[in-house]
């Protein structure tokens, strides 16, 4: 009886662990922080994608996805969309539509898994583990610094000026034409670089 209970609990824990991967938990935590920040739309993005990943892991939904375009096509599309993003008014509906379209496209391109071998000759498991730990430490440190700045800046506009978040620091830069061009170029090129990762060989 007790053995049966332990077996059932172990099976339930394994199923739960399989359904909610670490990155899904990160998305849920981020979505909840966006709610705390007073950004329900941003929260919805993270929580909806987390829900989609859980549903996918549970076999409840099936997203077909599409094949990823060749690099030349991606770069050409980035050039066109980047130009439109620069020309369109910031925070406007056109930028919203373009960004939404980019998001949906990237989701469809990135959804299919690949069976390619991702190991690189000469790079050991230990080197990968070390890199993962170091990058995670830097990422966590930066996130904690950002959260602390955000929280300290909530008290008043003067406090926000003394403890600016990354958004407060970069917003004036992105508000200039040159700043927007640089930001959009780096953002689109960064997205293309990320799309090409994890695809196997």
């Amino acid at each position: 009886m007790r053995a049966e209970l332990v077996r059932r609990m172990t099976k339930r824990t394994t199923t739960l662990r399989r359904l909610v991967a670490p990155w899904t938990l990160i998305l849920i935590a981020t979505g909840l922080f966006q709610l705390f920040r007073g950004a329900p739309v941003d929260a919805a993005f993270f929580l909806c994608i987390a829900a989609l990943l859980v549903a996918d892991a549970a076999g409840l939904v099936r997203v077909a996805g599409t094949g990823q375009p060749r690099l030349a096509v991606l770069l050409g599309a980035a050039a066109v969309l980047g130009t439109l993003l620069v020309l369109a008014p910031r925070h406007g509906a056109v930028e919203g539509l373009i960004a939404a379209g980019i998001g949906v496209s990237v989701l469809l391109f990135a959804w299919p898994s690949h069976d390619g071998h991702t190991d690189v000759p000469g790079v050991t498991t230990e080197a990968l583990r070390r890199a993962a730990i170091l990058w995670a430490a830097i990422g966590v440190a930066c996130c904690l610094w950002e959260v602390a700045s955000f929280l300290l800046g909530l008290a008043s506009p003067e406090a926000a000026a003394e403890h600016p978040s990354i958004s407060l620091l970069l917003d004036p830069v992105v508000d200039t034409t040159l700043g927007r061009i640089v930001f959009i170029a780096l953002w689109l090129l960064g997205g293309i670089a990320l799309l090409r990762r994890g695809r196997g060989r």
Binding site: T124, A141, L170, V174, R197, G200
Partner: protein, 67 residues
């Protein structure tokens, strides 16, 4: 305090750059970021999660109200 806050962000950026430079010099000790991402993003949840964060950066600064 403002200078200290900005210095903190710059320190994070400097650490990231330093780590990547070290990794490219000694890939057998610390894997370069691209190699790490290849391994991490082989799983769907990581791949979609990382791309969502990338996309949200663009949304946040171009579409949403940042300030």
């Amino acid at each position: 305090m403002r200078a200290i806050t900005i210095a903190g962000f710059l320190l994070c950026l400097a650490m990231a750059v330093t780590l990547e430079v070290l990794a490219r010099r000694e890939a057998n000790r610390i894997a370069p970021l691209a190699t790490l991402l290849d391994r991490v993003m082989a799983t769907r949840s990581a791949r979609i999660g990382i791309l969502l964060f990338w996309w949200w950066l663009g949304w946040h600064f171009l579409v949403g109200q940042t300030v």
